[in-house]
């Protein structure tokens, strides 16, 4: 599903990724690890099509609308409520039975009671839960998750554990993290960036 040959990405004079060869098959879970600045987020943004490579080739054989992208920021409007944010994404991603799915995700991630509250009033953990709902709402074929556990409390982290267990083997996942221990048992491969 993802093939990279000699992939490189620079920002000005600074090379963040260099000469990366990568193959990710359908329904694999690739764990991407490495220290700050090693290019984990850049690799995910490249796979999402948000950045273009400055060297090499990258082929991602999945349509744009079939990608679920969880970034450092939640990609949510602070002035809209949780419900309005998910409804916006649901409409744009043409999610069938949108209202039912939104309700299901909000309940699953413990945000149903806060559904009419503005995202700007949410804690970091609540925003991360809502960002996960946004990422998964359209049942993407390819999931690009950048530090998905960031900001989550233990209950939220366990919810995500269960979600990842259910998704493993049914979706293709690239998961970037500083702390691979939690996901390592599910991973089919590991890419350590230096």
């Amino acid at each position: 599903m993802i093939a990279a040959r000699g992939l490189g990405r620079s920002f000005g004079a600074k090379a963040v990724l260099r000469d990366l060869d990568l193959d990710v098959a359908e329904r694999d879970l690739l764990l991407v690890t490495g220290p700050n600045g090693s290019g984990k987020s850049t690799l995910l943004a490249l796979c999402a099509g948000l950045l273009a490579p400055t060297r090499g080739e990258l082929e991602v054989s999945v349509e744009r609308g079939r990608i679920g992208y969880l970034a450092h920021e939640p990609l949510l409007y602070r002035e809209l409520t949780a419900l309005e944010n998910l409804d916006l994404y649901g409409r744009l991603y043409r999610v069938p039975e949108r209202r039912e799915r939104i309700g299901m995700f909000l309940e699953r991630y413990g945000l149903w009671e806060e559904r009419r509250e503005r995202v700007g009033t949410f804690s970091r953990g609540m925003q991360q839960r809502l960002a996960l709902c946004r990422t998964l709402l359209h049942e993407p074929d390819l999931l690009l998750l950048d530090e998905p556990y960031a900001g989550l409390d233990e209950e939220g982290a366990e919810l995500l554990d269960g979600e990842l267990r259910a998704l493993t083997g049914t979706r293709t996942l690239l998961l970037a993290t500083h702390d691979p221990g939690r996901v390592a048992p599910l991973a089919s491969g590991r890419l350590a960036l230096a």
């Binding site: 099509g49 948000l50 992208y69 970034a71 920021e73 602070r78 309005e84």
Partner: protein, 212 residues
């Protein structure tokens, strides 16, 4: 139909955001009125009507810049534009939805500006109203594209006026011409042509602005 539904969804979102935050329109209203008041005192007694119309158009251009500077503020704050760009909808729908919202905000500012202009300076003719309406579309078409470009830049507050002002000179020429000429139809036609050309160019090039 899906395209229009996406545009409607995005425009409605922008209107809702403004209703909630009230960040942009009140500032535009205050700015345009304050500018006209300043111009009222700056213009010497007995100055020509042509000068007054020129100042109105200058006030409208700077009010548009103020609104456009905030056009992608909500998207920039939490990189929401990335989420919108990844959606399967045509990316030009993001431009069109935003441009519709910008037209609405500018129209509100102009609803206040034109009576204020009539109060301080000269009467407002139907030709002037038509010219302002056409100019609003032009400001929004070009300005929304440039605001998206500027939003990705660190020096966005500087970049937007630097790019916007040269490109809207034809609007000012057409607007002032339609306001004072004996034959305003020619200038109104010019403004309509400008709108058409720049709306098509902005619509077609937006995808390249929001992706690398």
């Amino acid at each position: 139909m899906r395209y229009l539904a996406d545009v409607g969804t995005l425009a409605a979102k922008d209107l809702r955001l403004e209703l909630r935050s009230r960040d942009t329109v009140p500032a535009m209203l205050l700015f345009v009125v304050a500018t006209l008041v300043v111009f009222n005192f700056a213009l010497p007694a007995g100055a020509s009507a042509e000068a007054a119309y020129g100042l109105l158009w200058a006030a409208l251009v700077f009010t548009a810049i103020l609104g456009l500077t905030r056009a992608f503020a909500a998207e920039r704050e939490q990189r929401v534009l990335e989420g919108l760009v990844l959606a399967p909808s045509d990316r030009s729908a993001i431009w069109l939805g935003k441009a519709i919202a910008v037209v609405a905000f500018l129209a509100l500012a102009e609803v206040v500006a034109l009576p204020a202009f009539a109060l301080f300076f000269e009467p407002v003719s139907w030709e002037l109203v038509a010219a302002v309406a056409l100019a609003t579309i032009g400001f929004a078409a070009v300005g929304t594209l440039l605001a998206a470009m500027a939003a990705a830049s660190r020096a966005r507050e500087l970049l937007l006026p630097l790019l916007f002002l040269p490109l809207v000179i034809p609007i000012v020429v057409g607007g002032v011409g339609a306001s004072i000429a004996d034959d305003p139809g020619r200038y109104l036609g010019f403004l309509a042509l400008y709108d058409l050309i720049f709306a098509i160019l902005s619509w077609a090039s937006f995808e390249y602005v929001v992706t690398e």
